[in-house]
């Protein structure tokens, strides 16, 4: 639900610094800043309901901020026993029903709430901040802040911020028309001063299980790198390319170029496969004889597959369908040299 990465420590200091500037009390940014500070500095644990793509999940979270970094454990409450433990640069996902553990190396980002930190830094020409009348969520008084898109190209947010703790009690990802794409509601939330290590340990015993490893960042350089550099022309308003890398995806026959586009809040990935001999005539745009462009909905995300200059292109993002289509359509094959830096995100 919450877009792209955020840097907790950096934001915490930024947030405190900005607070010193003393925004008017009725400025919606005041509450977004308080929320950012709470998310970055507080331990919390609670139960939340996540609705997305026609599915409703109830999960329990334990989140600890400490000298040794941020650690988080999320546990499914649906009887599956599944747990997601993010700690020390690693995400371990436990699937007791399959007796499988998935292990991923990951930057200490992608925690449940950290992406809400970006709400306060959105460009005003793209998103308008406003405060709606106060409301109650799970028995607590909340300030309701709207982050509304100024056009049809991106989704907005509505956040219910606890008046007492400034923690987000409820968040919605919303279409420009106001329909809810994804929702997260805390039904129970506490902010303990201390959280023991044991609360961050998985409750399952994974000894003897199958351990699977996934490294998403298998990057390619040198001879394996594609000879084509991709540029974008006429991107949708506010979007720019923030990262590019070349990677080998599991099962892929050749390296794939991964381009990341962002408007500061929404993130769209574009993957360009190396062209296969005879796949399509060079220079042709749009559909080919063997594969028409297609749009697929994946929960809150949409994926658009097409061919550009003879290369298969897949654009995925939590944005309206027109936006992924426009971003995929903005690609142009260029020379390999030059262009944005290679590797790394954001």
């Amino acid at each position: 639900m919450f877009r792209t990465s955020a840097r907790v420590a950096a934001f915490a200091s930024l947030s405190l610094g900005a607070a010193a500037v003393a925004l008017p009390a009725d400025d919606p940014r005041t509450w977004l800043e308080r929320m950012g500070h709470a998310i970055a500095t507080r331990n919390y644990q609670g139960t939340f309901v996540h609705e997305h793509g026609g599915q409703t999940d109830t999960l329990h979270i334990v989140h600890r901020v400490g000298d040794s970094g941020v650690a988080e454990r999320i546990q499914a409450m649906d009887g599956s026993g599944r747990e997601f433990v993010r700690r020390a640069g690693q995400l371990r996902t436990y699937f007791p029903d399959q007796r499988v553990v998935l292990v991923e190396s990951t930057a200490q980002e992608g925690l449940l709430l950290t992406e809400l930190l970006q709400l306060n830094t959105v460009a005003p020409q793209l998103y308008r901040l406003s405060e709606a009348p106060q409301a109650r969520v799970s028995g607590r008084s909340a300030h309701v802040i709207d982050v509304e898109p100024q056009d049809e190209l991106r989704y907005g947010y509505r956040v219910w911020i606890d008046e007492a703790s400034a923690m987000p009690l409820k968040t919605q990802l919303r279409t420009p028309a106001g329909s809810v794409v994804e929702q997260l509601v805390f039904t129970e939330l506490t902010l303990p001063a201390q959280i023991d290590d044991s609360a961050l340990e998985p409750q399952v015993d994974a000894r003897g299980w199958r351990w699977l490893r996934h490294d998403s960042a298998v990057r390619v350089a040198g001879p394996g790198a594609p000879a084509v550099s991709w540029q974008s022309e006429q991107l949708p308003a506010g979007f720019r390319m923030t990262a590019r890398s070349t990677r080998l995806l599991p099962g892929a026959r050749s390296a794939v170029t991964h381009l990341v586009f962002s408007d500061g809040l929404a993130t769209v990935s574009v993957f360009v496969e190396q062209s296969e001999p005879g796949a399509a005539a060079p220079g042709r745009r749009g559909g080919t004889a063997h594969a028409a462009p297609s749009m697929t909905t994946l929960g809150p995300s949409v994926a658009f597959s097409t061919f550009v200059d003879g290369h298969k292109v897949i654009a995925i993002g939590e944005v309206p369908a027109d936006t992924v289509r426009a971003i995929a359509g903005s690609l142009r094959a260029g020379e390999a040299a030059g262009g944005p830096r290679d590797g790394g995100h954001q």
Binding site: M1, D78, F95, V100, V260
Partner: protein, 232 residues
Amino acid sequence: MNRDELDSQLSAMFDGELPAVECELLSRRLTREEQLRATWSRYAVIGAALRAEPVAEVRPDFARRVSAQLHGAPAAAAVNVRAARAWRGAALGAAVAASVAGAAIMLLRGSVPAQEEALVAYSPTVEYAVLPHGTDQRAASQLAVLPVAHGRATGPGREQGLEPASYVVPPRSAGNTLAIPASLANYAMAHSAVSSPLVRRSLLSTLIGNEALLPFEDTGPAAADTQTDVPH
């Protein structure tokens, strides 16, 4: 054979623990005696309720028995098949009362003492129980500790959290759009690394159910630990 012994035999048959010869005899009796058949079907109702399957029609006069059993259910101290049978009596009450009074479905994380060996061996028994509104914690916890794996799981529990007897992944609700085509699986995974942790969680959950789509390589806990220094 008195009624209690008969019930006990039925329960053993339900648990798959009655010798084949006795099963055959009891089956013949089942065909003749309506009361015995009713008991058998009640056991089936409980089993369905505990597996969160649709509960079959329940006769209204069960409600009275339920209340009596719920309030009089003895606390379970030992974890064995006999206890499981006692629990079945209590759960029967719970299931029926729920169907009469309007149910709240509670996930019961049963305390299953388990050694690692037993983790492999024990068979699934109970995941859910249906409790009536207003069931107090004492009654709930009694139910929670009773549904226990058969036989093998007799060791001490883990220090960190006691494991349930088995895990069941609920089916996806109708109309959800989380099913992911194979052609998009790897791309969606790569995108979720720069996007939303909740999207990633959903993807992982979806992909794990489909071995063919899993973009993961086999390793082991040792390999996982050597590549990153994670206390565990």
